[in-house]
């Protein structure tokens, strides 16, 4: 492996330069000691696969199979690096673009697209994969993560009987949020609560430079990483296109939370290379040159270059990985196109956990209405 000593000079934790050069950084490296070649290849495969899935979903949207898709192109390292740092018992509260995090949580491939096909509000069972439904209301999930973490603490206190459990080993809640989300009241309130209770929560902000058409400097004239200190929460800025650095800082943040050290704020500096969603036209508000510049800092290329230099990746491995990616994409496509629309009456399902007389009456009324349309000589329809 090529490892140079030059530390990054911009206050950003970085282990890999854009060209794949690896820097030694003892503070971060100690969180990566277990990474053998297989693990490195695993990270690479993860990034390639989620990029391929993302491209496939974008294509599915263009073909009318999905109603909408928010591409993650460019944010693979931020999402895989952080997602792979988590323990199975941690719990993720994300925004809508964290497909790669969901992938890390073990969400079934087809489940990644259910929401975007317009057939469900949540594609998976949050309790099974320990990841909440994608949140559309910007920032709301930061409070959910904080409350979850408060619950983790309460449980620990109840279990130990002590006010400050000794040498705890806590599950951690992770809130994913964007640069735009930093302006929402809810996010700032979540910092207040997390700090007050020293809750085991990590705020992972992907600063992808844009909130739809708004550049990050409209949200803040100082680096986002500076925000948390004023709430009493340590902040760390990491190169979000460097999967190793992201993995390291996330592991450190998780460890702090796990051991009773309270919340951490991570700003992962990255870039949304695609449109905000498939409904967006970014050429209206940003320059091709900027997009180009960030393409040269691409997280996947960078990691590939490093791995090739380190002899961990060769052409054979590359084609194996590409095949895995193609298989994943094919699975997404096949799964997606096979998805059927839900039964009409499911509109009424799960609105309440216990029967609600008013809604039960509406359901019966609507069922009767639908029955009025049934052609007696037609056999029962699809689904």
């Amino acid at each position: 492996m090529t490892v140079t000593d030059a530390p990054p000079s911009d206050g950003v934790a970085r282990l890999l330069d854009a060209d794949g050069t690896r820097h030694a950084a003892p503070d971060h490296d100690r969180w990566l000691e277990d990474l053998d070649e297989a693990a490195l290849r695993g990270l690479y495969e993860d990034m390639v696969v989620v990029r391929r899935i993302d491209a496939e979903a974008t294509a599915l949207q263009r073909q009318g199979e999905l109603a909408l898709w928010p591409p993650l192109l460019g944010q693979e390292a931020a999402q895989i690096g952080s997602g792979r740092a988590l323990r199975p018992d941690d719990f993720v509260f994300s925004s809508y673009r964290e497909h790669a995090v969901a992938y890390c949580r073990g969400v079934e491939l087809v489940d990644l697209v259910r929401v975007w096909r317009g057939i469900a509000a949540c594609g998976w069972d949050p309790t099974a994969v320990r990841m909440a439904s994608p949140q559309v209301i910007i920032g709301a999930q930061a409070l959910h993560a904080t409350g979850y973490a408060m619950g983790v603490l309460t449980e620990a206190v109840n279990a130990s009987g002590a006010d400050d459990p000794d040498g705890p080993d806590l599950d951690v809640a992770v809130a994913y949020l964007g640069d735009g989300a930093m302006s929402q009241g809810d996010v700032n309130e979540s910092f207040v609560f997390a700090a007050t209770y020293q809750a085991p929560v990590v705020f992972f902000c992907q600063n992808n430079q844009w909130a739809i058409s708004e550049p990050v400097d409209l949200q803040s004239r100082v680096p986002l990483v500076d925000r948390s200190a004023g709430f009493g929460i340590p902040g760390v800025r990491v190169d979000g296109n460097d999967v190793l650095a992201v993995l390291a800082v996330t592991r450190e943040a998780l460890d702090r939370a796990r051991t009773g050290g309270g919340p951490t704020f991570v700003e992962a500096v990255t870039y949304r290379r695609g449109p905000h969603t498939t409904a967006d036209d970014p050429t209206r508000y940003r320059d091709a040159a900027e997009v180009e510049a960030w393409a040269r800092r691409d997280p996947v290329d960078r990691f590939a270059a490093y791995l090739r230099g380190a002899g961990v990746l060769d052409d054979d491995e590359e084609s194996r990985v590409q095949e895995a990616a193609d298989r994943a994409a094919a699975a997404v496509r096949a799964g997606c196109t096979a998805l059927r629309d839900p039964d009409p009456l499911t509109v009424f399902d799960h609105v309440h956990a216990q029967e609600h007389a008013g809604l039960a009456a509406q359901r019966a009324e609507y069922a009767q209405y639908l029955d009025g349309f049934v052609d007696d000589d037609v056999t029962e329809g699809q689904s």
Binding site: P126, S133, L143, G151, S190, D349, H350, A353, G358
Partner: protein
């Protein structure tokens, strides 16, 4: 405009405690006399003792015991991890309660006053109300949001609101309102035990009303949380209300009886779902409906009740359902609130009008 000399038909405005455990199954235990606010505290204490997943969140609920002392003594008993004084941020309170529910807790949130609930409106209507549906039933939200509600206490701005229609219009929530100490204790325990989010309204003007309370009533045997109840039977007019105006409605019924008008008083109790069956059955008997509430008239619950009663009882109605409500104005300064709130006279005026007798205004 010249101010009028108002002569009330009421002989007095003595607080009634309501009928207490009407329709409640008691388990035969000794009952004690409590104020409504103490009864709420008793309900919380029991819910917390019964289920260690019950936690309380709110401003000033710990050492102070809440501005109405509802949570008095609970932090001492259950510790500061189960009775949690929160930072001053209501969206934060409800949002973190949602997170705790994700972790399996049953949070009970106190919003200090009705007027402070709007800053957390999104967390209630977009998050709390929808999480169970959003997750296809995987993540229930057994969160109870306690809100001291309504006027009549001479309070400052934002301390006398009646926001129930906002929540009754919001799918996914249940909304209840209590009017007497026994209901306060029992329905609060039912709300906490319910797997759905419940907006729980506590009428401020009745916090000090006393009544007999059996804290240990069997929840399943008690009148269900979503049932209305007839507090007084009558034959001429059905008078529907809830919460803070229940006492006034009963007083009005007494006063009307003296004049030979028989009013059936229905305490709606549940504002979502609305127990339309009970209301409609009453209106089919009386042929006339008056609904009274403190909230603004337009798009208030009175409209929903009137519309549904008309749908269900059209052939039985002798007159159009009539609403006696707060005006469509921001809650006025305290010294004017008696001109905003329905009182005994305005209710009787409404009753007269629905009976075709003109009422005060046109006598």
């Amino acid at each position: 405009m010249s101010s009028a000399t108002v002569t009330s038909r009421a002989t007095g405005t003595t607080e009634t405690t309501g009928p207490g455990g009407a329709g409640q199954a008691t388990s035969g235990r000794a009952v004690s006399t409590l104020t409504l606010s103490r009864a709420l505290g008793a309900g919380l204490r029991r819910a917390m003792s019964d289920d260690e997943k019950v936690v309380l969140l709110g401003e000033d609920i710990g050492r102070l015991g809440g501005v109405y002392r509802v949570t008095d003594g609970l932090q001492e008993q259950f510790g500061r991890h189960r009775v949690v004084d929160t930072p001053l941020a209501e969206s934060g309170i409800v949002g973190t309660a949602i997170g705790m529910a994700f972790r399996g807790f049953r949070p009970v949130v106190e919003i200090q006053f009705d007027g402070f609930v709007y800053v957390t409106f999104d967390q209630i209507v977009s998050q709390l109300a929808r999480m169970h549906a959003r997750t296809a039933g995987r993540v229930p939200m057994p969160v109870t949001i306690r809100i001291p509600v309504g006027g009549g206490i001479g309070a400052a701005e934002h301390h006398s609101e009646s926001p129930e229609a906002y929540f009754a219009h919001t799918a996914g929530l249940r909304v209840v309102s209590v009017a007497d100490p026994q209901d306060a204790c029992t329905v609060l325990r039912q709300a906490i035990a319910c797997d759905d989010p419940v907006i729980f309204f506590e009428p401020k003007r009745r916090y000090h009303v006393k009544g007999e309370v059996d804290e240990a009533i069997e929840l399943d045997a008690a009148l269900p949380m979503d049932a209305a109840r007839v507090l007084r039977t009558g034959t001429d007019v059905t008078l529907v209300t809830w919460g803070g105006l229940v006492g006034t409605a009963l007083d009005a019924a007494s006063a009307a009886a003296d004049e030979g008008v028989s009013i059936e008083v229905v305490d709606l109790r549940s504002l979502s779902p609305i127990d339309h069956a009970t209301v409609a059955a009453s209106v089919r008997r009386t042929g006339r409906l008056v609904v009274t509430h403190e909230a603004a008239r337009t798009c208030g619950l009175g409209a929903e009740i009137a519309a549904t009663v008309t749908e269900r009882c059209f052939e039985h109605l002798e007159a159009a359902p009539l609403r006696v409500t707060g005006h469509d104005v921001p809650y006025p300064p305290a010294r004017l609130e008696q001109h905003h709130l329905p009182d005994l006279d305005r209710i009787l005026d409404g009753v007269d009008r629905v009976l075709g007798r003109g009422g005060v205004a046109t006598r």
